[in-house]
Symmetry: C2
């Protein structure tokens, strides 16, 4: 009898070992997706509500298909994690990595924080990659960040065929009181090396709280219909407004107060943080850009002061001073942040948000 | 007479203003190139001496065509700086920006340090880009870093047609006592967002001293003919050996001592710094990689101790401890450093090298 059991055990063990190299895929649709402003979307992996199709400006609608700020939550005891994903555009840019534009980025909950595991590197419109292998087979909670500057039309998560994958058991990050970030290409995550390194995703980990990304590259132009979408999230714990690089002076003066009012009318107490444009490193040399940015930052401060004078409470202001360091090294192109820049701005935002809360 | 002068002045002024938009190009061949181990090369913009063609392994020879660590020095009073450059391969990678692989990166000497100006972003095999515009027309000293992971077959620098471009007047960085860095893809600069952010280029600025880059992606395998090329640079102030990720245990044990001996025989006093492999962030999960890396680092320390016991002087050792921080965020793919990782490792290397000198 004991011999039989031993033989049975050994044969199961050998069999498991033998097939541990096989990967079984599970559609990610069955696992929670965090970082969405609304579930009323045309497909699962996009940011804007379907009723805005044909109503918001076409570039805003199209950028809504980018999955910046979204992450799939699951748990598994697999020794390896793989992914298959199909891209919306298979976009390329010359100052951002493919991993950042359209890759995946896996983190695991480790004791008390989210720890980087590894990246899913894209190879074409349809991708299949082993993200990590050779792990101790113990249950872990995972967060898989989606592309920052492209969309996905499908996503499956692969595990050892002998392992299990389940919805998360932990409610981390906290999704009850999300922070909603509105803004530009920088807000959207340009030019992080991988999805986890945009500032909203770094802050999601630092606070262990859901951050929803409404950065629209080149198009953070204070479209009121976006403010209306944001205003409906009465559970928001903070609105971060980081649009200055994308508006001209006329837009800034005409639209800032209205955009804030739309948020405030529906959310009387929720803190709102107005951010100045970062000081672009190449402004040290380009006098024309320097003048434009400094004038817009001054105008933003005036808008803020006018709103305060009108009696707006819980309205906060973040100066550009030292947001990305002063050594000039935080960007890839004078404007867009690298991981170094995102780490710096996240730390400043972390301190600013802690003071607000 | 005064009126005539005024009219003349105004007409020259208007004329200059009118044509300041035109760019005139100058072949960079007439300006000093720093970061080369030898001038005995097949073409100007490559790293290895021509006699190694057909002698060193083909991938090493080919990677020698990458211009990592090289920079053109010039000065100009132009309000704009442009560049035309033709690439050797027009290579792409999915975890490194095109700007880092094959772009240009301009710095200017500002009071007492090298300050980032802006990046030349590649668009194809032949490129023409305005790097910076709208500057105050005053003479500045410039350093233009060349691609990290591709080569160039030609380079011209463009200035306002009314401006002048000249060889540098300042002998910065110091080229009399270069540091020579040998190693891997990480040494070569993978995956910096732009050429100025590889660790050898960051250190070039921190020390204001020439650093010569002999990083060979995947091929820092202790080829003795490379040590022989390095050994001929009797003016070197330091040899940095950062090869561990590219050698297997057999290569490490068989070749480290010989590689060091080749350098030492020709350079009895020059400091030599042996670096452990960085602790790859994904090692926290991938047990197999963890074991391999820790064993190789232990073996390197043993090689170092044996050399010390043999009486080698001015031999230094840099442990992997905390070289890239411990938060797991310093890489794009678990292995290759982002600008955040390069900033961190540069600071540790800066401290280590200051202790040596």
């Amino acid at each position: 009898m004991k011999l039989c059991r031993l033989i049975l055990f050994l044969s199961i063990f050998s069999f498991s070992t033998f097939i541990s190299g096989e990967t079984k895929y599970y559609d990610a649709a069955q696992f929670p997706l965090i970082g969405k402003i609304t579930n009323d979307t045309e497909t699962r992996y996009e940011r804007l509500p379907s009723y805005l199709k044909g109503k918001t400006r076409p570039p805003v609608w199209d950028l809504g298909k980018n999955t910046s700020g979204m992450a799939i939550r699951f748990r598994s005891n697999s020794t390896s994690i793989s992914a298959k994903w199909d891209l919306y555009q298979d976009r390329t840019m010359n100052h951002m990595t493919a991993t950042g534009i359209k890759g995946l980025d896996l983190y695991a909950w480790t004791k008390d924080h989210w720890q980087f595991v590894n990246t899913g590197r894209p190879t074409g419109k349809s991708n299949e990659q082993t993200i990590i292998a050779n792990m101790i087979p113990e249950e872990r909670e995972y967060m898989l960040y989606l592309p920052l500057y492209d969309g996905i039309t499908s996503l499956s998560i692969g595990i050892d065929s002998t392992a299990v994958i389940l919805p998360p058991a932990l409610d981390e990050p906290d999704t009850k009181h999300p922070v909603i970030c509105y803004g530009t290409s920088i807000t959207q995550g340009g030019c992080a090396s991988r999805p986890g390194m945009s500032y909203s995703n770094i802050l999601m980990r630092k606070f262990n709280r859901e951050f929803i990304n409404l950065g629209f590259s080149g198009n953070g132009q204070l479209d009121f219909e976006i403010a209306e979408v944001m205003a409906k999230r009465h559970d928001a714990s903070l609105f971060v407004l980081d649009f200055v690089p994308n508006v001209n002076m006329k837009q800034l003066k005409e639209k800032t107060a209205n955009f804030v009012r739309i948020l405030r009318d529906e959310n009387p107490e929720t803190p709102i943080l107005l951010m100045e444009s970062i000081i672009f490193p190449h402004m040290k040399f380009d006098q024309s850009i320097q003048q434009v940015v400094l004038e817009k930052n001054t105008a933003l401060r005036e808008e803020y002061q006018k709103l305060k004078q009108k009696g707006y409470k819980n309205l906060y202001y973040l100066s550009s001073d030292n947001l990305i360091g002063k050594d000039g090294e935080a960007t890839v192109d004078g404007v867009h942040l690298t991981d170094l820049g995102f780490e710096r701005i996240s730390e400043k935002l972390y301190q600013a948000i802690k003071r607000i809360w």
